[in-house]
Amino acid sequence: MCGIVGLFAKSATVEERLGVHLAAMLEQMSDRGPDSAGVAVYRDPAPYGSSKLTLFSSDTREPWDEVGGALEQAFGGACKPRVRASHAVFVVEAEATEAEQWVRANRPDLRVMSAGTVIEIYKETGLPHEFVQQFGLSELTGTHALGHTRMATESRVTTAGSHPFSTGLDLCLVHNGSLSNHNRLRQTLRREGIEFQTENDTEVAAGYLAWRMREGASLEVALEGCLDDLDGFYTFAVGTADGFAVLRDPIACKPAVLAETGEWVAMGSEWRAISVLPGATDAETWEPEPGVVYVWEKAAV
């Protein structure tokens, strides 16, 4: 099963309450995914020339200040951690890829959940309600966000196996369904230099998108490539720095509902998830067509 939600704010009011809405949507999807929950929130851009990392530690007493200190030594500037449960966000005075490489080289025990300038990813095992409380999700403001509640079918229930999967800078993917050609595709992508951290099928889809976009494809073209190269069932929601995209496989067994008002665009596995948003009753509501890529993006400033 699994539940997916996405919310894209079209007004400052919704941006300010993004976390509140996201938490409500996520909790509505508890029945679809009681194993673990996760979100990607696009918010609080790092200043020009710096980048943002979300790191996870399995050690509940991780001395995050020391990690910040080490990052300051490496890159200069002030690098104070913003800690949420088992995760911490750092703004680093370096390019995102450079900062990410430093963590992998110097702190391999930590896991980079996301890297970029606006993305923050939080995910953990347990019920969505517990996750929302632990991570203080309701406090978060932001421009847009994706969320996932997991009922595991393909691999173990772990923090690392939870969604969203980051697929590159400021990119992430959540998935409802299961892929059947992920082992073979993982081998192919590894040869192309894409790194994988789990045996999870969704991570392969994320890696596929990262690879296609690295080779020059736009998000839309990369997603269309999924229709040819991925075998299995999926409804995907993909987050980018500017917006999000939705794709269902051509067989379309996995559900999805889209809705839009003057204030927001929302995506959910079911209407239940969207019904908690303000003005939902009057929203324009439809089911995305199978095999069609839907994209919403912030207008370029």
């Binding site: 209407w271 019904s275 089911e287 199978p290």
Partner: protein, 237 residues
């Protein structure tokens, strides 16, 4: 003049924000054994699953809002009207009665239905009427791919278009489509529309309250070539 007891004419209003879905369905099921209100109004469904499922009595239920999976599933005798959209499997395995959806229905609407009438005024998505076994389905808009897959009996009427693989592996159901058919499924063919078909179609459109001319529809059904295993085809597997 004798006063009519209020409880017999009043509409029973049930707010799903205040009572549980299980309680609503139990109260509707109890009507089969003990008299109760004959008209119900359900408010704040908010996408709940299995609303008004398994009713077995003559009763009218109006649902004000969108519902989730399996609304009015296994319905017998009741009339259930959804003033909104319905999630997957609306009226699945319906036995008799009517289920009316004012908006759109998600996939597998009327799946395996054995009788009664399902009306979707908007669009129905993939697999509408999959394995239908006697239910009649009238869709005001279009249907998605694999509609009437392995349909055995009953009619599927579509005022708009039909998606790919319409009527794949169909048995004896009748498909009436007004718009374009993206592609016919295996063993599904276009058939002649005779007077008896126009009459049947006219009756269904009227019952559904949809204003359309039966003369504008084409009929599709089984070529009856997949009924039995043909040894000559063994090499194809």
């Amino acid at each position: 003049m004798a006063a009519v007891p209020a409880e017999e004419v009043a509409v029973e209003v049930v707010d799903l924000e205040k009572i549980s879905l299980r309680e609503l369905n139990q109260r509707l099921h109890n009507l089969a054994h003990a008299p109760g209100p004959s008209a119900w109004r359900v408010v704040n469904p908010d996408g709940a699953h299995a609303v008004a499922c398994g009713i077995d009595v003559d009763v009218e239920v109006a649902i004000e809002g969108h519902v989730g999976y399996y609304c009015a599933g296994m319905n017998k005798r009741a009339t259930v009207r959804v003033h909104g959209n319905a999630g997957p499997g609306v009226a699945e395995n319906m036995m008799s009665g009517q289920v009316l959806v004012d908006g759109n229905a998600s996939q597998s609407a009327g799946a395996t239905g054995r009788g009664g009438l399902l009306v979707v005024r908007g669009d129905a998505s993939a697999r509408c009427g999959i394995s239908m076994k006697g239910i009649d389905i009238v869709v005001g808009g279009s249907v998605g791919h694999l509609s009437a897959f392995m349909a055995q009996r009953g009619c599927l009427v579509v005022c708009g278009d039909a998606g790919e693989a319409l009527g794949d592996s169909i048995y004896e159901a009748r498909l009436y489509i007004r718009g374009e058919v993206a592609e016919l499924g295996a063993d599904c063919v276009e058939k002649e529309v005779r007077a008896e078909h126009r009459e049947q179609l006219g009756g269904l459109l009227e019952a559904a309250g949809i204003d359309a001319d039966p003369a504008d529809f084409r009929r599709y059904g089984s070529a009856r070539k997949l009924y039995n295993f043909t040894i000559d085809n063994a090499g194809a597997y």
